[in-house]
Assembly symmetry: C2
Homo-oligomer: 218 residues x 2
DNA sequence: TAAAAAATTTAGATTAATCTAAATACAGCT
DNA sequence: AGCTGTATTTAGATTAATCTAAATTTTTTA
């Protein structure tokens, strides 16, 4: 059962929006991510439900079925492997790859993606620190905390981002807040919740907004 | 002006079908290659004509405009570069890559394709011996002759194929008729126009059908 | 050169994915 | 329990790409 480009995007979106296991994903949330209207989402949810890819009940939102989740994870695996390829092999910057991967993630061949995985030597993380599902769809995510949840004196490795916009990624790169660097909290300004951090022996201030979107492994 | 997947396939097909410069490509020829009905082709030709990508007059077939040709060549460049990538980097066989490249050729980013070209060290030919257009759209094709046009005693390098089916490519590989090998004609059987050839000091018989589709550089 | 055959176009439908506007259901609060 | 605003669904249209069947044009052939 081959899915359309659009169906794959819906499944991926539902997967990403399904934060807690007991809460369903709402029609509006999906429409916002995909830049469509809620009415269009309803139509598609019915279609995905007919195909047994989502559990859908009118007015109650959706969750993915086992099958739907498997499809979503495959798309995510492809997306992240292609991002690694673009950065590692074609020298793209980490802020340039997402858009291209949005297209590449829909290329079908399973053999292609497994060969690519091998060629890249089975990377565990994509350029943004996100984990790459293995060929069996197993995705192991590490527990990460945003800088905004840390206390003065806490220290850890910059390991991920919560926001993938080009602007944010460029900002991080410019200011040396790069994946793998060790970061410690030296001061928290109560007035605006901005945070003074130390990275590579250099002190710098980051806003609350940035602190919320920068993830640390303790 | 971004083209759809479908529009790109039409342009590519018209390019491939446009053998002599004074003859137009027919509606039926296009429909056959694309596995659609002639009526659908007519619709699309009108649309491409409105976009100034083809020169179309009712009942007279089409040719590509300069702009249309440029787009077609870009798609062909992408197709062939991806085929090289699949064979050289991911260890695919030459009969496995065409189908995947049919999908990859529609990925947009110009930067991606130029980086890929660089990564592959600017290959001049794809795995089937077809020339790869450079980034300016310049395509230089070598003069090749099918084995069926050669005479006894003629000798040359196997340099291309006229037929890209999986069956034909697998057959050539199995029988050692591989790109780059030197081939000479030792006998032509007049009865059925089959040809006895010598490759790597080994004699073998090939049918007229094969001889017509195997291309040699003298 | 006129009929017959082949190629091509038109007319009218269909399917997937989308939209707007209107109707309906739910959730939170008095 | 009833009101009210938000979320969601339904109804009806639109667009791109396709189809079938019928009409028209071009080409071939006798
Ligand atoms: Mn991404
Ligand atoms: Mn990523
Ligand atoms: Mn090919
Ligand atoms: Mn090829």
């Amino acid at each position: 059962m081959k899915l359309s480009f659009t169906e794959e995007n819906y499944l991926k979106t539902i997967f990403h929006l399904n934060h807690s296991p007991d809460e369903n994903v709402s029609t509006n949330a999906i429409s916002e991510v995909l830049n469509t209207k809620a009415a269009s989402v309803t139509d598609m949810l019915k279609k995905l439900s007919d195909k047994k890819l989502v559990n859908y009940e009118k007015y109650q939102g959706v969750t993915l079925t086992k099958d739907g989740e498997k499809q979503a994870i495959t798309v995510i695996r492809k997306h992240r492997l292609w991002e690694v390829f673009l950065v590692e092999k074609l020298n793209f910057k980490w802020d340039e790859v997402h858009e291209i991967a949005e297209e590449l993630e829909h290329i079908c061949s399973e053999k292609l993606i497994n060969r690519l995985d091998e060629f890249l030597e089975f990377p565990k993380k994509d350029p943004h620190g996100d984990p790459i599902p293995d060929k069996n769809g197993v995705l192991k995510s590490q527990e990460l905390l945003p800088v905004s949840k840390l206390k003065v004196g806490d220290k850890g490795i910059i390991s991920g981002v919560r926001e993938h916009s080009v602007e944010f990624l460029k900002y991080l790169e410019k200011t040396g807040l790069i994946l793998g660097e060790c970061l410690s909290i030296t001061e928290i300004i109560t007035f605006d919740s901005s945070v003074m951090v130390r990275v590579k022996n250099h002190q710098q201030m980051i806003s609350r907004e940035v602190a919320k979107n920068l993830l640390i492994a303790l």
